[in-house]
Symmetry: C2
Subunit: 341 residues, 2 copies
């Protein structure tokens, strides 16, 4: 007799279903040193020392996450470590040691790997990360990169996805949609669209994870819940709401967007789709008490020169809504979905 999963494909299940399948198959009795396992930006593990260990891992695959048109080898090295740093930042932690598993074609030029390492090192050195191990393997058809990043944090400063409270303000640390705009430019290069949009291209290729911001928000205790925007605010805010048992309203007019993005899109409304659903901006999304509004603004302004932007409010119930001029509409989670192209 066939079971359901015998006839279903992974595409049918989708990424969330796949994660549920994996979670359902592993032991539910976690040992006490696993403070947080599957389900946040990083795992949080107790050590016998005074700081908890943070662990995150991310894979980039040619043809899915990038092509040679969208990322140079150097940009790939930078981005591969950046996306992991961003996960540690979203917990309020400090990154320490990286483990690089890289799959390359045998006929690739050695200069490809050299350039990759230049990009990797540029950001690793800036953020104090040491490459402490890894694996190099031949992959016949695709370049693939998996980085596991270890970091640490004082136990009381870790910020989870699950801490949002009804009434909290919802904040983002910077403009949204630039990475999606940059990707559009890269994919349409032949049309000469890249002129003047280097800023957007850079946002896609070499995102700067908000490490200082995440750490300060965790240590100050201001952020109740935090996540990095990798899949788009619509989907990532959904993760916070789901895990906190709340809903949220985003103010359409408050979503921060760069003038370059609006110019590229030709209309604010089109740019907004990139900002809401584009993903890969690696800004932080967090919630904080309304009473702390000024503290949040001054702390974030001090660190980056521009304050974080309040974009919405946490509400009771569930679901995410977009408050427009005259209406409040449900916001579909239209961010990037693996296995569902």
């Amino acid at each position: 007799m066939k079971t359901t999963t015998n006839i279903k494909t992974l595409k049918d299940l989708g990424e969330a279903g796949i994660i549920r399948l994996i979670q359902g198959r592993v032991s539910q009795k976690l040992p006490s040193y696993v403070i947080k396992g599957i389900g946040d930006d990083s795992a949080v593990l107790e050590t016998s020392g005074d700081r908890v260990l943070l662990v995150t891992t991310d894979t980039l695959i040619e043809g899915i996450h990038f092509t040679d048109q969208t990322l140079s080898p150097e940009a790939l090295g930078w981005k591969a470590i950046a996306v992991n740093i961003s996960d540690i930042a979203a917990m309020g932690g400090t990154p320490r040691t990286a483990f690089l598993s890289i799959g390359l074609k045998a006929e690739s030029k050695a200069s490809f790997l050299e350039s990759f390492m230049v990009g990797f090192n540029a950001l690793a050195e800036k953020t104090g990360i040491v490459l402490a191990g890894g694996d190099t393997v031949e992959c016949p058809s695709h370049v693939l990169v998996t980085i596991t990043l270890l970091g640490d944090c004082l136990p009381g400063s870790v910020v989870y996805r699950s801490g949002a409270r009804v009434g909290d303000d919802v904040w983002v640390t910077g403009p949204l949609g630039n990475a999606a705009g940059g990707l559009f430019v890269l994919r349409n290069k032949q049309a000469g669209a890249s002129l003047g949009y280097e800023f957007l291209v850079r946002a896609h290729q070499k995102p700067i994870p908000r490490l200082d911001m995440g750490k300060a928000l965790g240590e100050s205790g201001l952020a109740h819940a935090m996540i990095d925007i990798s899949d788009g605010i619509s989907k990532d805010l959904g993760h916070i709401c789901e895990q906190s048992g709340v809903g949220a309203v985003l103010q359409e007019a408050s979503i921060p967007m760069s003038s370059e993005l609006i110019e590229l899109a030709g209309a604010r409304q089109k740019a907004l789709q990139w900002a809401l659903h584009g993903g890969e901006d690696y800004e932080l999304l967090f919630t904080a008490s309304t009473a702390d509004k000024e503290k949040v603004e001054s702390l974030t302004a001090k660190l980056s020169g521009r304050p974080a932007v309040k974009v919405g409010t946490v509400i009771p119930g569930n679901g995410i809504f977009l408050a427009q001029k005259k209406a409040k509409v449900p916001l579909e989670g239209g961010g990037y979905l693996h296995f569902c192209k």
Copy 2:
């Protein structure tokens, strides 16, 4: 002007050259908490607690490390965690938490992932490992699995590759070549060669890492240097010799081989090639003082029912030699070489 690496391919460099390239491109000033970075079975990191942290990562790629002919989904799940456990065992450590990054085709059946998890869990539960995070991604053409495994160890019990001393005995914890024999059977199934060789097939598909043995050898202080046999004893003993600044002689007549392997090969001499160069046996290879010979035998016999086997001696100089009946010949490192098929 073109640099050398502009015209060289990764195949030209080979795996060792690739690792050298990566090492040469990262900061050489390691912070003091990195006790061992690149270059052993696992990285060793100091924590603020009383145990050091061990970290290892390994990638398996369809078409390179396995095919659907050689590993069922369940066997893949088992083997993916086994190869990482073996790296922790080779340091004398205890594995704790695993991070699974899995790349699957969108049209794969959900039952593939279910079976994978059955195999993964069977060994994870047996060894007390918790899956604490990971990443699931779509990979258009190949199944790929990267597992990062964290473990720990008392600082004084860690066994490195670099501790071999001239005069040490060289030991292996069990028979060699079974996994290579099993792979041969799997690849020649159509010839009906599998009958009676389930034992060899199992050695290839579901290796049992020598966790208790590694831990006991580390805690007892008997092992001076240790590595797991993943690439073949010829290559793995080479790593110990290189890092310890010594050479070694293997006694051809002492290499332990199963009767099944010799029967499959048809001649002891042919079986020996599998035993020396086949790899993937995941037995431990270690060196110990000659004065401790009896202690090594009794400790290993107590743990596995059969004692470890002395296969050679550490000598001054460099290079590995095979002592045959009448001659002593240099042993070429013929183990598995990535990027050099």
